[in-house]
């Protein structure tokens, strides 16, 4: 089985800018950040989408996200933060491993996560509510068994060619870094 790119980071942390680590997860600075200070919180166990993670790990991950968020406020002087998890290829997930993005925000930083609000009518909302509740009750009561989510996940094979290039670049980048040292 080929190892996931993110799992490779776990085994080679020295090459990355890790700002926090514990038994369950770690937080590191993004190498190609949306804004300076863009941090990723990553669970150490290999999981592709957040639905597959244990509740206890999810709890812990977001408590760490809160910590990171607080540090970004205090140390980088951020005026706001965003926490974003994209789940599934359709949501724009590009790595086959759960990644929580924490972004420091400031004025005119070029980021835009606003959406155009749709005006849903009462009937649409009522029927949606009924449709969703059929599934929500067993899930929230914990009576829903885990598998059989039909979701297209990012797979290693799809991203393999591009990810190999990435790794080579990273290695070059590390070598360049070494060369820069006096």
């Amino acid at each position: 089985m080929t190892e996931c790119d993110v799992c490779k980071i776990v085994n080679n942390k020295e090459a990355f800018h890790v700002i926090y680590e514990d038994e369950i997860c770690f937080a590191l600075l993004h190498e190609s950040p949306a804004v300076p200070g863009h941090t990723m919180v990553i669970p150490k166990t290999h999981t592709t989408i957040i639905e597959e993670l244990d509740d206890k790990i999810v709890e812990h991950l977001f408590v760490v996200c809160n910590k990171v968020s607080t540090i970004l406020f205090d140390k980088l002087g951020a005026h706001g933060t965003n926490v974003i998890v994209n789940n599934g290829i359709d949501a724009g997930q590009d790595l086959p491993h759960v990644v929580i993005n924490v972004l420091p925000r400031s004025e005119n930083d070029g980021l835009d996560f606003e959406w155009t609000p749709k005006q849903s009518g009462q009937q649409v909302l009522e029927s949606l509510q009924k449709k969703i509740q059929i599934y929500s009750d067993p899930i929230f009561l914990g009576k829903d068994e885990l598998p059989d989510i039909k979701i297209q996940k990012p797979e290693q094979s799809i991203t393999k060619t591009s990810s190999n290039n990435k790794i080579e670049k990273k290695e070059n980048y590390q070598i360049n870094n070494l060369k820069r040292l006096p």
Binding site: I19, S32, P33, G37, S69, N82, N86, L128, Y135
Partner: protein, 235 residues
């Protein structure tokens, strides 16, 4: 108005607190003693859910840690519900902290948004950054603590070496340094005092009031000198 009063006023006017109190109708998906999950009436996509804490908090850092954990397990379950019930292929869990991050109401909430391929929402751009800038950010975020710990570890060791190896030197150099620094200055001050006394005697003949002023100045000088020394020791 105190901060608490402002918060009370904010709670009174908060639409989401009213929704939770059922003063305003909503399309509820799930509710328990801690949180409420409702459909957003102005969604990014149909099925857009909001996870609201029942207590009023403005931003994430204000929310108690156990509640943060709990809210995100609910977000996970909501995401799973949406995937199953709407037959979609992806969701985004989104939090905005602060108006600049896109927060619209002063009540903390987690958005769970159903996604469609190519909908161009929540696109996180990738920009290049120099290695130096990355490192300086890392140092800003964690560097200070790490460096302080290292300093604390290193400094006592150096002091121990000094104590063991250079005890004699310490007796010769350090003691006079520390004690003299304190003593020498007053001596010099006394010399100054003597010189000033001579001046004063001359001045005394001219004006007696000036003497009082001079004395005051002398006292002030002494005070500042002591403060300076104290500051040096603190450094």
């Amino acid at each position: 108005m105190s901060a608490q009063e402002i918060l009370e006023l904010q709670k009174k006017n908060c639409i989401f607190c009213k929704i939770i109190a059922k003063e305003i109708p909503s399309y509820e998906i799930y509710s328990d003693e801690k949180v409420s999950v409702i459909l957003d009436i102005n969604p990014a996509h149909e099925g857009h859910c909001l996870i609201l804490p029942k207590n009023h908090y403005q931003i994430l850092p204000q929310v108690p840690l156990d509640l943060i954990g709990y809210m995100f397990t609910i977000a996970k379950k909501t995401s799973r519900t949406l995937l199953k019930s709407l037959g979609i292929q992806g969701t985004t869990i989104f939090v905005a902290n602060g108006a600049l991050a896109g927060q619209k109401a002063p009540h903390f909430m987690i958005h769970v948004v159903p996604r469609q391929r190519g909908d161009q929402l929540f696109k996180i751009p990738k920009n290049s950054i120099s290695a130096e800038e990355l490192l300086s950010i890392k140092n800003k975020l964690v560097g200070e603590q790490i460096i302080q710990q290292e300093k604390q570890e290193i400094e006592p060791v150096k002091q121990e070496i000094k104590q063991e190896e250079v005890i004699e030197q310490k007796h010769v150099e350090n003691k006079p340094q520390t004690v003299e620094e304190r003593i020498v200055d007053p001596k010099e001050e006394s010399k100054k005092e003597i010189q000033e006394d001579v001046v004063e005697k001359v001045e005394e003949e001219l004006n007696s009031e000036n003497k009082v002023k001079e004395n005051n100045k002398q006292e002030q000088k002494k005070d500042t000198n002591i403060d300076d020394i104290a500051n040096l020791f603190l450094n």
